[in-house]
Protein backbone atom coordinates (compact mmCIF):
# COMPACT_ATOMS: atom_id res chain seq x y z
CA UNK A 1 0.00 0.00 0.00
CA UNK A 2 1.47 3.31 -1.07
CA UNK A 3 1.29 6.38 1.17
CA UNK A 4 -0.62 9.53 0.37
CA UNK A 5 2.44 11.27 -1.11
CA UNK A 6 5.35 10.13 -3.23
CA UNK A 7 7.77 13.01 -3.43
CA UNK A 8 11.53 13.53 -3.60
CA UNK A 9 11.75 13.69 0.18
CA UNK A 10 9.60 10.64 0.99
CA UNK A 11 10.21 8.21 -1.82
CA UNK A 12 13.66 6.75 -1.02
CA UNK A 13 12.54 4.10 1.53
CA UNK A 14 9.41 3.26 -0.50
CA UNK A 15 11.49 2.66 -3.62
CA UNK A 16 14.02 0.56 -1.72
CA UNK A 17 11.24 -1.52 -0.16
CA UNK A 18 9.56 -2.06 -3.51
CA UNK A 19 12.79 -3.22 -5.15
CA UNK A 20 13.52 -5.56 -2.24
CA UNK A 21 10.01 -6.98 -2.55
CA UNK A 22 10.43 -7.60 -6.28
CA UNK A 23 13.76 -9.28 -5.69
CA UNK A 24 12.50 -11.40 -2.81
CA UNK A 25 9.53 -12.74 -4.75
CA UNK A 26 10.62 -13.31 -8.34
CA UNK A 27 7.95 -15.93 -8.95
CA UNK A 28 4.94 -14.18 -7.48
CA UNK A 29 2.63 -11.55 -8.79
CA UNK A 30 3.19 -8.27 -6.94
CA UNK A 31 0.13 -6.15 -6.17
CA UNK A 32 0.63 -2.52 -5.21
CA UNK A 33 -2.34 -0.64 -3.82
CA UNK A 34 -2.28 3.04 -4.77
CA UNK A 35 -5.76 3.89 -3.48
CA UNK A 36 -4.40 6.33 -0.86
CA UNK A 37 -1.95 7.98 -3.24
CA UNK A 38 -2.92 11.62 -3.85
CA UNK A 39 0.26 13.51 -4.65
CA UNK A 40 3.28 12.66 -6.76
CA UNK A 41 6.11 14.68 -8.21
CA UNK A 42 8.71 13.79 -10.84
CA UNK A 43 10.32 11.25 -8.50
CA UNK A 44 6.97 9.58 -7.86
CA UNK A 45 6.30 9.48 -11.58
CA UNK A 46 9.70 7.85 -12.16
CA UNK A 47 8.95 5.29 -9.43
CA UNK A 48 5.60 4.31 -10.95
CA UNK A 49 7.17 4.30 -14.42
CA UNK A 50 9.87 1.89 -13.28
CA UNK A 51 7.30 -0.43 -11.70
CA UNK A 52 5.25 -0.43 -14.88
CA UNK A 53 8.33 -1.10 -17.00
CA UNK A 54 9.44 -4.00 -14.81
CA UNK A 55 9.71 -7.06 -17.03
CA UNK A 56 9.00 -10.34 -15.29
CA UNK A 57 7.81 -13.75 -16.34
CA UNK A 58 4.10 -14.10 -17.25
CA UNK A 59 1.94 -14.33 -14.16
CA UNK A 60 4.59 -12.76 -11.97
CA UNK A 61 4.19 -9.14 -13.05
CA UNK A 62 3.69 -5.94 -11.08
CA UNK A 63 0.10 -4.68 -10.88
CA UNK A 64 -0.62 -1.20 -9.56
CA UNK A 65 -4.23 -1.11 -8.37
CA UNK A 66 -6.55 1.80 -7.67
CA UNK A 67 -4.22 4.44 -9.09
CA UNK A 68 -6.40 7.44 -9.88
CA UNK A 69 -6.74 8.11 -13.62
CA UNK A 70 -5.32 11.64 -13.16
CA UNK A 71 -2.13 10.34 -11.60
CA UNK A 72 -1.99 7.40 -13.99
CA UNK A 73 -2.04 9.83 -16.90
CA UNK A 74 1.10 11.49 -15.57
CA UNK A 75 3.14 8.30 -15.89
CA UNK A 76 4.59 8.08 -19.39
CA UNK A 77 4.43 4.88 -21.39
CA UNK A 78 7.40 5.26 -23.72
CA UNK A 79 9.89 2.37 -23.61
CA UNK A 80 12.95 2.72 -21.35
CA UNK A 81 15.17 2.50 -24.44
CA UNK A 82 14.01 6.01 -25.35
CA UNK A 83 15.63 7.43 -22.26
CA UNK A 84 19.06 8.97 -22.52
CA UNK A 85 22.04 8.13 -24.63
CA UNK A 86 24.95 5.90 -23.92
CA UNK A 87 28.37 7.44 -24.53
CA UNK A 88 30.11 5.89 -27.47
CA UNK A 89 33.32 4.25 -26.37
CA UNK A 90 36.31 5.38 -28.43
CA UNK A 91 37.45 2.78 -30.97
CA UNK A 92 40.25 0.62 -29.59
CA UNK A 93 43.50 0.79 -31.53
CA UNK A 94 46.36 -1.66 -31.76
CA UNK A 95 49.33 -0.66 -29.56
CA UNK A 96 51.54 0.44 -32.46
CA UNK A 97 48.76 2.57 -33.91
CA UNK A 98 48.11 4.10 -30.48
CA UNK A 99 51.84 4.93 -30.20
CA UNK A 100 51.72 6.68 -33.56
CA UNK A 101 48.56 8.52 -32.61
CA UNK A 102 50.07 9.79 -29.32
CA UNK A 103 53.34 10.72 -31.06
CA UNK A 104 51.49 12.65 -33.74
CA UNK A 105 49.45 14.48 -31.08
CA UNK A 106 52.60 15.39 -29.12
CA UNK A 107 54.39 16.52 -32.28
CA UNK A 108 51.42 18.68 -33.13
CA UNK A 109 51.52 20.23 -29.64
CA UNK A 110 55.24 20.95 -30.04
CA UNK A 111 54.54 22.42 -33.47
CA UNK A 112 51.83 24.67 -32.01
CA UNK A 113 54.25 25.82 -29.32
CA UNK A 114 56.91 26.63 -31.93
CA UNK A 115 54.31 28.55 -33.93
CA UNK A 116 53.42 30.52 -30.81
CA UNK A 117 57.08 31.33 -30.07
CA UNK A 118 57.58 32.36 -33.70
CA UNK A 119 54.49 34.62 -33.51
CA UNK A 120 55.82 36.24 -30.34
CA UNK A 121 59.26 36.74 -31.90
CA UNK A 122 57.70 38.15 -35.05
CA UNK A 123 55.66 40.61 -32.99
CA UNK A 124 58.61 41.48 -30.78
CA UNK A 125 61.01 41.88 -33.70
CA UNK A 126 60.06 45.19 -35.29
CA UNK A 127 60.00 47.02 -31.95
CA UNK A 128 60.56 50.36 -33.58
CA UNK A 129 58.07 49.86 -36.40
CA UNK A 130 55.73 52.79 -36.73
CA UNK A 131 52.02 52.21 -36.38
CA UNK A 132 52.48 49.04 -34.36
CA UNK A 133 54.36 50.18 -31.28
CA UNK A 134 54.72 48.29 -28.06
CA UNK A 135 51.79 48.98 -25.73
CA UNK A 136 53.92 50.43 -22.97
CA UNK A 137 51.01 51.63 -20.83
CA UNK A 138 49.56 48.11 -20.57
CA UNK A 139 53.06 46.73 -20.08
CA UNK A 140 53.69 49.06 -17.13
CA UNK A 141 50.25 48.37 -15.63
CA UNK A 142 50.89 44.64 -15.79
CA UNK A 143 54.41 45.14 -14.42
CA UNK A 144 52.99 47.11 -11.50
CA UNK A 145 50.37 44.46 -10.75
CA UNK A 146 52.67 41.48 -11.21
CA UNK A 147 55.77 43.16 -9.80
CA UNK A 148 55.14 45.89 -7.25
CA UNK A 149 52.26 44.06 -5.63
CA UNK A 150 54.39 40.93 -5.31
CA UNK A 151 57.21 42.66 -3.39
CA UNK A 152 55.95 41.85 0.14
CA UNK A 153 55.62 38.11 -0.50
CA UNK A 154 58.99 38.01 -2.30
CA UNK A 155 60.65 39.82 0.61
CA UNK A 156 59.15 37.44 3.13
CA UNK A 157 60.06 34.25 1.25
CA UNK A 158 63.54 35.57 0.27
CA UNK A 159 64.35 36.51 3.87
CA UNK A 160 63.20 33.14 5.20
CA UNK A 161 65.17 31.27 2.53
CA UNK A 162 68.35 33.14 3.57
CA UNK A 163 67.70 32.40 7.23
CA UNK A 164 67.01 28.70 6.67
CA UNK A 165 69.96 28.09 4.32
CA UNK A 166 72.42 29.94 6.59
CA UNK A 167 71.20 28.15 9.69
CA UNK A 168 71.29 24.66 8.18
CA UNK A 169 74.78 25.10 6.67
CA UNK A 170 76.14 26.80 9.80
CA UNK A 171 75.06 23.95 12.07
CA UNK A 172 77.18 21.50 10.05
CA UNK A 173 80.05 23.95 9.39
CA UNK A 174 80.41 24.70 13.11
CA UNK A 175 81.40 21.04 13.69
CA UNK A 176 84.43 21.60 11.44
CA UNK A 177 85.21 25.15 12.58
CA UNK A 178 84.31 26.40 9.12
CA UNK A 179 81.46 28.78 9.90
CA UNK A 180 83.15 31.56 7.89
CA UNK A 181 82.59 29.52 4.71
CA UNK A 182 78.84 29.61 5.30
CA UNK A 183 78.98 33.12 3.82
CA UNK A 184 80.33 31.66 0.56
CA UNK A 185 77.52 29.13 0.47
CA UNK A 186 74.73 31.57 1.27
CA UNK A 187 76.08 34.21 -1.13
CA UNK A 188 76.46 31.96 -4.13
CA UNK A 189 73.29 29.95 -3.44
CA UNK A 190 71.12 33.05 -3.08
CA UNK A 191 72.50 34.95 -6.06
CA UNK A 192 72.82 32.11 -8.55
CA UNK A 193 70.08 29.70 -7.52
CA UNK A 194 67.62 30.38 -4.74
CA UNK A 195 66.91 34.04 -5.48
CA UNK A 196 65.83 33.54 -9.11
CA UNK A 197 64.29 30.11 -8.48
CA UNK A 198 62.08 31.09 -5.54
CA UNK A 199 61.08 34.35 -7.18
CA UNK A 200 60.14 32.55 -10.39
CA UNK A 201 58.09 29.93 -8.55
CA UNK A 202 56.23 32.69 -6.70
CA UNK A 203 55.73 34.56 -9.95
CA UNK A 204 54.39 31.43 -11.65
CA UNK A 205 51.86 30.84 -8.87
CA UNK A 206 50.81 34.44 -8.64
CA UNK A 207 51.05 35.95 -12.11
CA UNK A 208 51.40 32.99 -14.49
CA UNK A 209 48.06 31.63 -13.28
CA UNK A 210 46.54 35.11 -13.47
CA UNK A 211 47.69 35.56 -17.08
CA UNK A 212 46.13 32.22 -18.06
CA UNK A 213 42.87 33.00 -16.22
CA UNK A 214 42.59 36.56 -17.61
CA UNK A 215 43.20 35.59 -21.22
CA UNK A 216 41.19 32.38 -20.82
CA UNK A 217 38.18 34.34 -19.54
CA UNK A 218 38.57 36.75 -22.44
CA UNK A 219 38.53 33.79 -24.80
CA UNK A 220 35.41 32.32 -23.17
CA UNK A 221 33.71 35.74 -23.41
CA UNK A 222 34.64 35.97 -27.11
CA UNK A 223 36.79 39.05 -26.41
CA UNK A 224 39.63 37.47 -28.39
CA UNK A 225 37.35 37.20 -31.42
CA UNK A 226 36.42 40.86 -30.94
CA UNK A 227 40.11 41.81 -30.84
CA UNK A 228 40.75 39.88 -34.06
CA UNK A 229 37.75 41.40 -35.85
CA UNK A 230 39.09 44.86 -34.99
CA UNK A 231 42.12 43.83 -37.00
CA UNK A 232 44.30 43.55 -33.89
CA UNK A 233 46.65 40.72 -33.16
CA UNK A 234 46.00 39.08 -29.76
CA UNK A 235 49.72 38.24 -29.51
CA UNK A 236 50.63 41.90 -29.88
CA UNK A 237 47.67 43.15 -27.86
CA UNK A 238 47.69 40.71 -24.93
CA UNK A 239 50.77 38.51 -24.95
CA UNK A 240 53.59 40.92 -25.72
CA UNK A 241 52.88 43.33 -22.82
CA UNK A 242 52.86 40.37 -20.43
CA UNK A 243 56.10 38.94 -21.84
CA UNK A 244 57.86 42.29 -21.52
CA UNK A 245 56.45 42.97 -18.06
CA UNK A 246 57.55 39.55 -16.83
CA UNK A 247 61.04 39.88 -18.32
CA UNK A 248 61.31 43.23 -16.54
CA UNK A 249 59.90 42.49 -13.11
CA UNK A 250 61.16 38.99 -12.34
CA UNK A 251 64.84 40.15 -12.32
CA UNK A 252 63.87 43.16 -10.20
CA UNK A 253 62.01 40.96 -7.73
CA UNK A 254 65.00 38.63 -7.73
CA UNK A 255 67.26 41.52 -6.63
CA UNK A 256 64.90 42.10 -3.71
CA UNK A 257 64.93 38.39 -2.85
CA UNK A 258 68.76 38.29 -3.08
CA UNK A 259 69.25 41.30 -0.81
CA UNK A 260 66.84 40.19 1.93
CA UNK A 261 68.06 36.59 1.65
CA UNK A 262 71.64 37.68 2.26
CA UNK A 263 70.47 39.93 5.08
CA UNK A 264 68.62 37.00 6.67
CA UNK A 265 71.76 34.87 6.38
CA UNK A 266 73.85 37.63 7.95
CA UNK A 267 71.46 37.90 10.89
CA UNK A 268 71.63 34.15 11.52
CA UNK A 269 75.43 34.17 11.43
CA UNK A 270 75.57 36.77 14.25
CA UNK A 271 74.47 33.87 16.45
CA UNK A 272 77.54 31.98 15.21
CA UNK A 273 79.89 34.91 16.14
CA UNK A 274 80.20 36.38 12.67
CA UNK A 275 79.46 40.09 12.67
CA UNK A 276 77.72 42.05 9.93
CA UNK A 277 80.99 43.75 8.79
CA UNK A 278 82.78 40.41 8.61
CA UNK A 279 79.85 39.00 6.61
CA UNK A 280 79.93 41.98 4.23
CA UNK A 281 83.66 41.88 3.46
CA UNK A 282 83.75 38.09 3.13
CA UNK A 283 80.76 38.25 0.79
CA UNK A 284 82.48 40.83 -1.43
CA UNK A 285 85.60 38.68 -1.61
CA UNK A 286 83.87 35.43 -2.59
CA UNK A 287 80.94 36.53 -4.72
CA UNK A 288 81.60 37.87 -8.19
CA UNK A 289 79.51 40.14 -10.31
CA UNK A 290 79.04 37.21 -12.69
CA UNK A 291 77.07 35.37 -9.98
CA UNK A 292 74.61 38.23 -9.79
CA UNK A 293 74.31 38.54 -13.57
CA UNK A 294 73.82 34.80 -14.10
CA UNK A 295 71.05 34.93 -11.49
CA UNK A 296 69.40 37.91 -13.17
CA UNK A 297 69.71 36.33 -16.63
CA UNK A 298 68.03 33.22 -15.24
CA UNK A 299 65.33 35.36 -13.68
CA UNK A 300 64.57 37.16 -16.96
CA UNK A 301 64.43 33.83 -18.82
CA UNK A 302 62.17 32.31 -16.17
CA UNK A 303 59.92 35.39 -16.37
CA UNK A 304 59.63 35.11 -20.17
CA UNK A 305 58.89 31.39 -19.93
CA UNK A 306 56.22 31.84 -17.23
CA UNK A 307 54.48 34.63 -19.14
CA UNK A 308 54.62 32.69 -22.41
CA UNK A 309 53.20 29.55 -20.79
CA UNK A 310 50.47 31.51 -18.96
CA UNK A 311 49.44 33.40 -22.11
CA UNK A 312 49.52 30.32 -24.32
CA UNK A 313 47.39 28.39 -21.83
CA UNK A 314 44.96 31.29 -21.81
CA UNK A 315 44.78 31.46 -25.60
CA UNK A 316 44.08 27.72 -25.88
CA UNK A 317 41.40 27.68 -23.16
CA UNK A 318 38.35 25.59 -24.02
CA UNK A 319 34.77 26.61 -23.29
CA UNK A 320 33.28 27.33 -19.87
CA UNK A 321 34.44 28.29 -16.40
CA UNK A 322 35.99 24.87 -15.77
CA UNK A 323 38.29 25.31 -18.76
CA UNK A 324 39.56 28.61 -17.31
CA UNK A 325 40.40 26.87 -14.04
CA UNK A 326 42.19 24.08 -15.91
CA UNK A 327 44.20 26.63 -17.89
CA UNK A 328 45.31 28.43 -14.72
CA UNK A 329 46.29 25.17 -13.03
CA UNK A 330 48.06 23.94 -16.15
CA UNK A 331 49.96 27.22 -16.45
CA UNK A 332 51.36 26.90 -12.93
CA UNK A 333 52.32 23.24 -13.24
CA UNK A 334 53.96 23.65 -16.67
CA UNK A 335 55.74 26.81 -15.54
CA UNK A 336 57.28 25.15 -12.50
CA UNK A 337 58.44 22.15 -14.54
CA UNK A 338 59.83 24.51 -17.16
CA UNK A 339 61.65 26.62 -14.54
CA UNK A 340 63.39 23.56 -13.12
CA UNK A 341 64.38 22.31 -16.59
CA UNK A 342 65.70 25.75 -17.57
CA UNK A 343 67.59 25.98 -14.29
CA UNK A 344 69.27 22.67 -15.07
CA UNK A 345 70.26 23.93 -18.53
CA UNK A 346 71.69 27.13 -17.02
CA UNK A 347 73.69 25.09 -14.52
CA UNK A 348 75.17 22.99 -17.35
CA UNK A 349 75.92 26.09 -19.44
CA UNK A 350 77.45 28.35 -16.78
CA UNK A 351 78.73 26.08 -14.01
CA UNK A 352 80.00 23.01 -15.82
Amino acid sequence: MLDEQLTAFTIAPVWERALALLQAHPKREILIDASRLKRIDDTGIAFLYELRQETRAPGTGVIIRNLSPELSALVPDYPASELGTRPESPPSRPAIEQLGYVTRRKMRQIGNWLDFIADCARTLGPLSRRGNPIRWRETLDIAAEAGANAVPIVLLIGFLMGVIIAFEIALVAREFGAVIFVIDGVGIAMLRELGPLMTAILFAGRSGAAFAAQIGTQKVNEELDAIRTFGLDPIHFLVLPRLLAAALVVPLLTVFADVVGLFGGALVLIRFDIGLYQFYYRLLSVVELEDLFVGLLKAATFGLAIAAIGCRRGLTTGAGATAVGLSATGAVVTSIVCIVVLDGLFTILFDA
Binding site: D42, I45, P76, T85, P87, G318, G320
Partner: protein, 268 residues
Protein backbone atom coordinates in the same frame (compact mmCIF):
# COMPACT_ATOMS: atom_id res chain seq x y z
CA UNK B 1 -6.17 30.55 -20.91
CA UNK B 2 -7.06 29.98 -17.25
CA UNK B 3 -7.17 26.47 -15.92
CA UNK B 4 -10.56 24.95 -15.23
CA UNK B 5 -11.62 25.20 -11.58
CA UNK B 6 -11.01 21.55 -10.77
CA UNK B 7 -8.02 20.81 -12.90
CA UNK B 8 -6.06 18.05 -11.10
CA UNK B 9 -2.29 18.28 -11.32
CA UNK B 10 0.72 16.37 -10.14
CA UNK B 11 1.42 18.90 -7.48
CA UNK B 12 -2.15 19.66 -6.61
CA UNK B 13 -4.23 16.63 -7.51
CA UNK B 14 -7.32 17.73 -5.66
CA UNK B 15 -7.52 20.78 -7.87
CA UNK B 16 -7.99 23.21 -4.96
CA UNK B 17 -7.50 26.83 -5.90
CA UNK B 18 -5.98 29.72 -4.02
CA UNK B 19 -2.83 31.76 -4.30
CA UNK B 20 0.37 29.76 -4.16
CA UNK B 21 2.43 32.94 -3.94
CA UNK B 22 1.23 36.16 -2.33
CA UNK B 23 3.22 39.36 -2.60
CA UNK B 24 2.13 41.74 0.15
CA UNK B 25 3.20 45.39 0.02
CA UNK B 26 6.67 44.49 -1.16
CA UNK B 27 9.36 47.18 -1.48
CA UNK B 28 12.70 46.02 -2.79
CA UNK B 29 15.88 47.70 -3.94
CA UNK B 30 19.58 48.11 -3.33
CA UNK B 31 20.88 49.78 -0.19
CA UNK B 32 18.04 51.88 1.11
CA UNK B 33 16.97 52.94 -2.39
CA UNK B 34 13.80 51.14 -3.51
CA UNK B 35 13.54 50.06 -7.14
CA UNK B 36 10.02 48.79 -6.62
CA UNK B 37 7.60 49.59 -3.82
CA UNK B 38 4.11 48.81 -2.62
CA UNK B 39 3.66 45.72 -4.80
CA UNK B 40 0.55 43.64 -4.16
CA UNK B 41 -0.36 40.61 -6.24
CA UNK B 42 -1.07 36.88 -6.02
CA UNK B 43 0.03 33.98 -8.17
CA UNK B 44 -2.73 31.43 -8.52
CA UNK B 45 -2.07 27.70 -8.45
CA UNK B 46 -1.40 26.32 -11.93
CA UNK B 47 -1.31 29.67 -13.70
CA UNK B 48 1.44 31.15 -15.82
CA UNK B 49 2.09 34.66 -14.61
CA UNK B 50 4.42 36.80 -16.66
CA UNK B 51 6.28 39.75 -15.18
CA UNK B 52 7.13 42.19 -17.91
CA UNK B 53 8.52 45.64 -18.33
CA UNK B 54 11.33 47.61 -19.90
CA UNK B 55 14.98 46.80 -19.18
CA UNK B 56 16.06 48.00 -15.73
CA UNK B 57 12.56 48.23 -14.27
CA UNK B 58 13.31 45.62 -11.60
CA UNK B 59 11.85 42.40 -13.04
CA UNK B 60 14.79 40.23 -12.01
CA UNK B 61 15.06 42.03 -8.66
CA UNK B 62 11.41 41.24 -7.97
CA UNK B 63 12.10 37.60 -8.85
CA UNK B 64 15.00 37.59 -6.36
CA UNK B 65 12.68 39.04 -3.72
CA UNK B 66 10.00 36.42 -4.41
CA UNK B 67 12.52 33.59 -4.12
CA UNK B 68 14.11 34.87 -0.92
CA UNK B 69 17.44 35.55 -2.63
CA UNK B 70 17.18 39.25 -1.80
CA UNK B 71 15.70 40.65 1.39
CA UNK B 72 13.01 43.24 0.69
CA UNK B 73 13.11 46.70 2.27
CA UNK B 74 9.57 46.09 3.53
CA UNK B 75 6.54 43.92 2.88
CA UNK B 76 6.27 40.17 2.68
CA UNK B 77 6.15 37.24 0.27
CA UNK B 78 4.07 34.20 1.23
CA UNK B 79 4.76 30.85 -0.40
CA UNK B 80 1.74 28.61 0.18
CA UNK B 81 0.84 30.81 3.15
CA UNK B 82 4.33 30.81 4.75
CA UNK B 83 6.49 33.91 4.79
CA UNK B 84 9.79 33.44 3.00
CA UNK B 85 10.94 36.87 4.24
CA UNK B 86 10.46 36.27 7.96
CA UNK B 87 11.35 32.55 7.88
CA UNK B 88 14.27 31.17 9.87
CA UNK B 89 17.11 29.79 7.70
CA UNK B 90 15.85 26.17 7.83
CA UNK B 91 12.29 27.10 6.86
CA UNK B 92 13.58 29.44 4.16
CA UNK B 93 15.73 26.64 2.70
CA UNK B 94 12.70 24.31 2.74
CA UNK B 95 10.53 26.90 1.01
CA UNK B 96 13.24 27.61 -1.56
CA UNK B 97 13.53 23.90 -2.36
CA UNK B 98 9.84 24.06 -3.31
CA UNK B 99 10.68 26.70 -5.90
CA UNK B 100 12.35 25.66 -9.11
CA UNK B 101 14.37 28.60 -10.32
CA UNK B 102 16.17 29.08 -13.60
CA UNK B 103 18.46 32.01 -14.19
CA UNK B 104 19.14 34.21 -17.20
CA UNK B 105 22.44 32.46 -17.92
CA UNK B 106 21.05 28.99 -17.20
CA UNK B 107 23.56 28.70 -14.32
CA UNK B 108 24.40 25.09 -15.10
CA UNK B 109 27.49 23.83 -13.31
CA UNK B 110 30.26 23.84 -15.89
CA UNK B 111 32.15 20.89 -14.45
CA UNK B 112 29.13 18.56 -14.49
CA UNK B 113 27.49 16.87 -17.47
CA UNK B 114 23.88 17.67 -18.33
CA UNK B 115 22.67 14.50 -16.57
CA UNK B 116 24.75 15.30 -13.47
CA UNK B 117 23.42 18.85 -13.45
CA UNK B 118 19.83 17.65 -13.46
CA UNK B 119 20.62 14.97 -10.89
CA UNK B 120 22.46 17.43 -8.62
CA UNK B 121 19.52 18.46 -6.37
CA UNK B 122 18.57 14.78 -5.95
CA UNK B 123 22.18 13.91 -5.07
CA UNK B 124 22.31 16.66 -2.46
CA UNK B 125 18.89 16.47 -0.82
CA UNK B 126 17.52 12.96 -1.16
CA UNK B 127 18.55 9.43 -0.23
CA UNK B 128 17.28 7.93 -3.47
CA UNK B 129 19.67 5.34 -4.97
CA UNK B 130 21.99 6.34 -7.81
CA UNK B 131 20.29 4.18 -10.47
CA UNK B 132 16.92 5.65 -9.54
CA UNK B 133 18.30 9.20 -9.50
CA UNK B 134 19.67 8.61 -12.98
CA UNK B 135 16.26 7.36 -14.10
CA UNK B 136 14.53 10.46 -12.69
CA UNK B 137 17.07 12.77 -14.32
CA UNK B 138 16.73 10.97 -17.66
CA UNK B 139 12.93 11.23 -17.52
CA UNK B 140 13.20 14.96 -16.81
CA UNK B 141 15.60 15.40 -19.72
CA UNK B 142 13.21 13.41 -21.93
CA UNK B 143 10.43 15.75 -20.81
CA UNK B 144 12.35 18.82 -21.99
CA UNK B 145 13.53 16.98 -25.13
CA UNK B 146 17.16 16.80 -24.11
CA UNK B 147 17.42 13.01 -23.84
CA UNK B 148 20.15 12.96 -26.48
CA UNK B 149 22.32 15.47 -24.58
CA UNK B 150 22.79 13.83 -21.20
CA UNK B 151 26.51 13.21 -21.59
CA UNK B 152 27.25 16.67 -22.98
CA UNK B 153 28.92 19.37 -20.93
CA UNK B 154 27.18 22.76 -20.52
CA UNK B 155 29.85 24.44 -22.65
CA UNK B 156 28.77 22.24 -25.57
CA UNK B 157 25.08 23.22 -25.38
CA UNK B 158 23.24 25.84 -27.39
CA UNK B 159 21.38 28.66 -25.63
CA UNK B 160 18.00 26.92 -25.90
CA UNK B 161 19.42 23.63 -24.62
CA UNK B 162 20.96 25.40 -21.61
CA UNK B 163 17.61 26.96 -20.74
CA UNK B 164 15.80 23.63 -21.08
CA UNK B 165 18.42 21.81 -19.00
CA UNK B 166 17.99 24.55 -16.38
CA UNK B 167 14.24 23.92 -16.34
CA UNK B 168 14.80 20.15 -15.96
CA UNK B 169 17.14 20.79 -13.01
CA UNK B 170 14.64 23.19 -11.46
CA UNK B 171 11.98 20.44 -11.56
CA UNK B 172 14.15 17.73 -10.02
CA UNK B 173 13.07 18.16 -6.41
CA UNK B 174 9.41 18.21 -7.27
CA UNK B 175 9.01 21.98 -7.14
CA UNK B 176 5.45 23.31 -7.18
CA UNK B 177 6.41 26.60 -8.74
CA UNK B 178 8.88 27.19 -11.53
CA UNK B 179 10.34 30.68 -11.72
CA UNK B 180 12.07 31.44 -14.99
CA UNK B 181 14.17 34.56 -15.42
CA UNK B 182 14.15 35.63 -19.07
CA UNK B 183 13.98 32.10 -20.50
CA UNK B 184 13.81 33.21 -24.13
CA UNK B 185 16.38 36.01 -23.93
CA UNK B 186 18.98 35.65 -26.65
CA UNK B 187 17.23 32.76 -28.37
CA UNK B 188 16.18 32.63 -32.01
CA UNK B 189 12.39 32.72 -32.60
CA UNK B 190 12.11 29.01 -33.33
CA UNK B 191 14.06 27.96 -30.25
CA UNK B 192 12.12 30.48 -28.16
CA UNK B 193 8.84 29.09 -29.51
CA UNK B 194 9.97 25.55 -28.68
CA UNK B 195 10.77 26.67 -25.15
CA UNK B 196 7.32 28.26 -24.84
CA UNK B 197 5.81 24.99 -26.01
CA UNK B 198 7.83 23.14 -23.37
CA UNK B 199 6.51 25.49 -20.67
CA UNK B 200 2.89 25.01 -21.79
CA UNK B 201 3.43 21.27 -22.04
CA UNK B 202 4.84 21.09 -18.51
CA UNK B 203 1.90 23.04 -17.15
CA UNK B 204 -0.60 20.88 -19.00
CA UNK B 205 0.98 17.57 -18.06
CA UNK B 206 2.28 18.24 -14.56
CA UNK B 207 0.31 21.30 -13.47
CA UNK B 208 3.26 23.49 -12.54
CA UNK B 209 2.71 27.10 -11.59
CA UNK B 210 5.02 29.35 -13.59
CA UNK B 211 6.29 32.83 -12.84
CA UNK B 212 8.16 33.99 -15.93
CA UNK B 213 10.15 37.19 -16.26
CA UNK B 214 10.35 38.22 -19.88
CA UNK B 215 9.96 41.10 -22.28
CA UNK B 216 9.53 38.96 -25.38
CA UNK B 217 6.09 39.84 -26.74
CA UNK B 218 5.72 36.61 -28.69
CA UNK B 219 6.37 34.59 -25.54
CA UNK B 220 4.02 36.70 -23.46
CA UNK B 221 1.10 36.12 -25.82
CA UNK B 222 1.89 32.41 -26.17
CA UNK B 223 2.23 31.38 -22.55
CA UNK B 224 0.80 33.98 -20.18
CA UNK B 225 -2.54 33.59 -18.44
CA UNK B 226 -1.91 36.88 -16.75
CA UNK B 227 0.77 39.55 -16.92
CA UNK B 228 1.88 42.28 -14.59
CA UNK B 229 3.78 45.18 -16.03
CA UNK B 230 6.38 47.03 -13.99
CA UNK B 231 7.60 50.54 -14.61
CA UNK B 232 10.92 52.01 -13.51
CA UNK B 233 9.65 55.56 -13.15
CA UNK B 234 6.65 54.80 -10.99
CA UNK B 235 8.53 51.95 -9.21
CA UNK B 236 5.51 49.71 -9.27
CA UNK B 237 2.88 47.79 -11.19
CA UNK B 238 1.25 49.90 -13.86
CA UNK B 239 -0.92 47.19 -15.41
CA UNK B 240 -2.22 43.74 -14.58
CA UNK B 241 -4.40 41.41 -16.64
CA UNK B 242 -4.37 39.10 -19.61
CA UNK B 243 -1.87 40.12 -22.31
CA UNK B 244 -4.68 40.68 -24.83
CA UNK B 245 -6.52 42.95 -22.37
CA UNK B 246 -3.38 44.94 -21.69
CA UNK B 247 -2.71 45.35 -25.38
CA UNK B 248 -6.26 46.19 -26.44
CA UNK B 249 -7.81 47.97 -23.48
CA UNK B 250 -5.10 49.67 -21.48
CA UNK B 251 -5.23 53.45 -21.59
CA UNK B 252 -1.75 53.80 -20.12
CA UNK B 253 0.59 55.08 -22.88
CA UNK B 254 3.53 53.13 -21.43
CA UNK B 255 1.59 49.87 -21.71
CA UNK B 256 0.44 50.70 -25.23
CA UNK B 257 3.97 51.62 -26.25
CA UNK B 258 5.29 48.32 -24.90
CA UNK B 259 2.68 46.19 -26.65
CA UNK B 260 2.80 48.13 -29.88
CA UNK B 261 6.59 48.01 -29.97
CA UNK B 262 6.92 51.75 -30.31
CA UNK B 263 9.64 53.99 -28.82
CA UNK B 264 8.75 57.21 -26.95
CA UNK B 265 8.99 59.41 -29.98
CA UNK B 266 8.61 58.10 -33.50
CA UNK B 267 11.48 58.90 -35.88
CA UNK B 268 10.98 62.02 -37.97
Amino acid sequence: MPLPESCPTATNPSGTRGPIVSVRGLAIGYGSQPILEDLWFDVERGEILVILGESGCGKSTLMKGMTGLQRPLSGDVLIDGESIVMADPATKARLQRGLGITYQSGALFGSLSVLENVRFPLDEFTRIGLRQRNLIARMLLHLVELGHAETMMPAELSGGMIKRAGIARAMALGADILMLDEPSAGLDPITAANLDRTILDLRRRLGFTFVVVTHELQSIFTIADRAIMLDAESRGIIAMGSPADLRDRSQDPRVRQFFNHRPDTPPA
